[in-house]
Symmetry: none
DNA sequence: CTGTATCTTTACAAAATCTTTATGACCCAA
DNA sequence: TTGGGTCATAAAGATTTTGTAAAGATACAG
């Protein structure tokens, strides 16, 4: 992923600034939060592709934030901390941190660890091009073709289709889809899904009244074939 | 994974011994190799669940071994090294190392990083399918197939079948099933069960009048075979 | 500032599913 | 034989879930 979105949760402005400059110059899109609570709400309303989390936060502790994030967030979380003691490291890793880096860190190493984390979270969902009957979905170029012709999709439509394509054959619950595309706080907005699934079907299905790709599993969610 | 197999590739016997003792006392099964070449052939003949790789190997360099491993091996590789310079760290991570730890390392931290790596590589795979004659029930994808063809089940029908599949061979009482699927207050609604078992049988049994999968235990409940 | 594309919300019809009722079969003991 | 209990099935009804169109809101580019 070239332009992954990274959320920084850290109370020190100079660290945030340093990270922002380095990350942006490497092509990442950066969001910032100075408190854990703000970080939680930001990630809930728009889930980033990776989170950089400081452990030594004022107010709610970083360990606590990590636990709350991991209740639903399953992409990489790299913990940054001045604390170099084993207890903090082990606790963070066992609570679901992807990696733990002590401050001061080397920028090159941080970037490499970010690349490594993102790479693994990506090929967990098995990247490249998904071919499905007359449909071709290029997950890298973000292009969708039907019988060889490029289809014009809006950003949200594409995100939804990509999520389906990455999880072909599985039933995805409404909650899961809403969480992935719109964010944690949209879990109850099932009407969004109906509208967007409707418009996707109009564009990708041969006969939208008898969908062959996006199949509805009544009461549960949708399944992509 | 409680008893994961870990391969140690390191030329220092005392490090291997130290690792072996610590890993085995934590329930891991340990194999050892003192050279990169030996490590490659061991991992090829019997792929471990995780590899601990020393970078400072005599003969073929650890970076080279890492590259060759990554041509086919996609489970976690944690690099251990006395080299604490950025070049080695970045190179290892970019060549597919899951993590990089400098020696001397803290045992607790290493164990936590091993747990973390294995945990993530596990839930990347993760498919539990119950096969039962011509029936296949994929509990993660929430899909049921009969002779390879996907069967359309309603949400309640699926829940019921999944409950049966998870308890194959056991007799499940009416009360228990009703409690699990509909909730505690439905324990007396045995007629629900008759209706739903009936419709399930129509869909999954070869001959619904002579059911082979869902067997009636008169006066008690049902049993799944 | 203006128009266009996209997203969000509302309203209602259609479809799918669940619940209830009715009926008949079967087994077993009185 | 007869009557009570358990079970299976069909079908009517009630309820929930889904699909669709379209209006209002928002964001964005020129």
């Amino acid at each position: 992923m070239n332009n992954a979105e990274i959320l920084i949760i850290d109370d020190e402005p100079q660290i945030r600034k340093l990270l922002q400059i380095n990350l942006e110059s490497n092509g990442y899109k950066v969001t910032q939060a100075s408190t854990g609570e703000h970080g939680l709400s930001l990630s809930a309303s728009h889930p980033p592709d990776l989170i950089l989390l400081d452990i030594g936060l004022p107010g709610k502790d970083g360990h606590q934030i990590l636990k709350e994030l991991r209740e639903w967030y399953n992409k990489p979380i790299i913990v940054l901390s001045v604390r170099d003691n084993e207890t903090d490291i082990v606790s963070a890793l066992d609570n679901g941190a992807t990696d733990y880096l002590t401050k001061p860190f080397r920028t090159g190493e941080l970037l490499a660890r970010i690349r490594s984390s993102i790479r693994r979270s990506e090929n967990a969902e098995n990247n490249s091009t998904v071919v499905c009957g007359d449909l071709e979905i290029d997950l890298i170029a973000r292009v969708v073709k039907k019988m060889g012709d490029t289809i014009k999709l809006t950003s949200t439509e594409y995100n939804l289709l990509a999520l389906f394509a990455k999880n072909g054959g599985k039933v995805l619950t409404h909650q899961f889809i809403l969480k992935e595309i719109w964010g944690y706080s949209f879990q109850t907005e099932t009407q969004y899904l109906r509208v967007f699934v409707g418009s996707l079907r109009k564009k990708i299905e041969e006969n939208p009244n008898n969908p062959q790709h996006i199949i509805t599993e009544s009461g549960v969610g949708y399944r992509f074939e």
